[in-house]
């Protein structure tokens, strides 16, 4: 955790209140035993493990949490929640942090992962179902690493696992209106929150 400077802890900060209300978890139940970080499959590449994120929430370090790579690298595999001795659903805490990060449009530490999710949702909005080929292509282009993940492409095509054309689904109109309504509700919800 390349953190410098002295910390001025702000207990029961609005970060903590947001996490507790959206995830329904009591952050102060955590006694920092480290079992979540120990079992997390992605903690070896994270700048802050799940335990340190819980600690940062207890201390109210909002930026540190939202700028961390942890909330994006988390695969939400629930191992931490299944093994937490204080039965805290840490996966749900991570999820609520991602919602906060998305809502605040803060700069994601893992740009590629954020891009992947955003592309994934745009593709569903457009054709109702995921089309791997376009997802891969767009991800490589927009992520400015055009030749990544190409190794499997020939094998996939040879085995007829990738259809060249995106799937056509009758329900697409419904999906598009669903996305639009969700966006509208979000905006209205935020307007109310700002007042």
């Amino acid at each position: 955790m390349n953190m410098t400077g002295t910390i001025k802890p702000s207990p029961s900060s609005d970060l903590q209140n947001f996490v507790e209300s959206r995830s329904g978890q009591k952050v102060l139940r955590c006694y920092q035993c480290g079992k979540c970080s120990a079992g997390c499959p992605a903690s070896y590449v994270m700048d802050m493990g799940p335990r340190q994120i819980m600690r940062a929430i207890q201390l109210g370090l909002r930026e540190k949490v939202l700028e961390s790579s942890t909330i994006w690298l988390c695969i939400s595999c629930q191992t931490c929640s299944a093994r937490c001795p204080n039965e805290i659903d840490i996966a749900r805490v991570m999820e609520s942090l991602r919602w906060l990060a998305a809502a605040e449009k803060s700069e994601p530490a893992e740009k590629d992962i954020a891009l992947f999710h955003q592309l994934f949702l745009t593709l569903i909005k457009r054709s109702g179902r995921v089309h791997e080929l376009s997802l891969g292509a767009l991800y490589n282009l927009l992520g400015r690493h055009p030749f990544a993940n190409m190794k499997r492409l020939p094998g996939m095509l040879a085995r007829g696992k990738l259809s060249v054309l995106p799937p056509r689904v009758k329900g697409v109109a419904e999906i598009r209106s669903l996305f639009a309504k969700v966006k509208a509700m979000e905006k209205e919800h935020q307007k109310r929150e700002v007042e």
Partner: protein, 663 residues
Amino acid sequence: MARTGVFICHCGTNIGGTVDVSKVLEAAKSMPTVAYVDDNTYSCSEPGQASIHDAIIENRLDRVVIGCCSPRMHENTFRKTVATAGINPYLLEISNIREHCSWVHGDDKEAATDKAIELVRMAVAKVASLEPLFSRQVGLTKRALVIGGGIAGIQAALDIANADYEVVLVEREPSIGGRMAQLDKTFPTLDCSACILAPKMVDVAQHPNITLLTYAEVQDVKGFVGNFEVNILQKARKVDHIKCTGCGTCWQKCLERTPSEFNLEMGKRSAIYIPFPQAVPLKPVIDTEHCAHFKYLEAKEEGRDLPDCNICQQLCPVSAIDYEQEDQIISERFGAIIVATGYQTFDHSVYHEYGSGRYADVITGLHLERLLSASGPTGGEVIRPSDGLLPKTVVFVSCVGSRDEQKGRAYCSKVCCMYMAKQAIMLKEHDPEVQCYIFYIDIRAGGKDFEEFARRAQEEYGTLYLRGRISKIYQEGKKLIVCGEDSLIGRPVEIAADLVVLATGMEPSIGAAELAQRLKISYDTNNFFIEAHPKLRPVETNTDGIFLAGSCIGPRDIPESVAQGGAAAAKVAALFSQDVLTTDPMVATIDPMLCSGCLLCTQVCPFNAIDTQVTRDGRTIALVNETMCKGCGLCVASCRFGAADLRGFTQQQILAQVTSLWR
């Protein structure tokens, strides 16, 4: 006309901080029969009691209500106070305005004060209808029963016997010694467990005042303090322990081999066996399940034939082997009972993420004690159970089955941090090339010389303490990979270990809940017995005459168990120092004029304390045997004619409390 005195206690700020005491006093003045009101900061203190005593005399009071803490706390204290002032001690009513009022309604002072007034009004209404009661004397059997032959039970038995009272020590296993007998060394002094325990065990065997009943269990318990009737099941040992001299021929010559429970299945024992070399009594029992002779008998019944064997019977020089010996019920009378049933280690198979027993080289602390012990299955050589090789990297894991609500064990087991340090030191002494790691959350070393001892494990013996709870253990080739996090540096940590020792926590020994129900003492959600008061009465239970000692109350180490064994013994000696016991006068009464003789109450009474008597006009009616009656009031609620009543909780007294409400 009754003259009642009402005394309200501030209890410092515990009551005064929330309840407006002057307002309560003001309200009390106008309550019926109240002749005097007063308050003091601490009624239970010397000056507090003195001021109540003087007020009673000066104002010729004949009944007292005290608004203070729970009656379970100081009812007896204040009964003595009013008695010294010349009032019958049972013309007193306590109104609980602390635990049931100020402490639980701190957020609403006004409501707390109103409620306190109501509680005092109820007490005043009840005290008006209280009658003087007189306790009676009853005989007392000066014999004590100690259940459990671990270090706590041994200490208790010895101390009572040394106070020259008879003791019966009942132990479920074939030998006394309990968990401590399984330990190699003890912290923080590293003296050998057997060396300090064996002499005490021998003292127990040789003490004239102690009758030792091993391989025996308490079946049921009747009666009450001074007059307990206990049935003890003496399981058939199939060996006559009077004739037997403990020469050892039988258990050396027996051909059967079965895993030894004492060595946690890591070694073998014969069918006729003593659990460990320093066993007391040094006389064997036959394990009928694994004995060839009894397997032969069982097969014969089912029409199968197996070779018979009676080697032990033939070779026994004093012919002490008696296959026909049967289980026996011994019933005895006791004046007091000490429960010292000890603990067992947590069964770590619920930890699937640690392999749940799948990996042979993942053992518990107690397993390691047996491996370290010279009388253990490997003669003190610590080897990997899987391939017998010497481990060079040993990883200790703390809090297995402790501080883990997800596994139903929220409490800290107190001793694991210390025995991990001890074992790390012992491993290094056995083999200097060993490198020990200890995964911990918080090192708890609160006892005398504990912290210094734990520091030695790191400083002198090079143990590497890693702060963090591990999440997974899995096998990779011959190594066990332990996945944890060092939360001090903040990075995940993986160690390839040859041996992993899980510091499993303490839980009550099997059957604790059933024993508690037989003794009618309360136990908590983890099945530990509940002491009368955690701070002020740690070795007593709420049932008079039944005492507790050792880790059956909660995680305890050896010094505490010994101290509590002695403390419980002191309580028993104090009890036995009187020749008679005064009984509780709050017992049931039957009004002969109203009793129709239906005798329903005699069937209802759990203590069959209600006999019958014939009145002058020839009617048979019920009669309460006041020494047997425990004052539960079951008969009162069952009597349809209102003939039965319970002194101290009469129908009229309770109704008075009800009708005084919301006037």
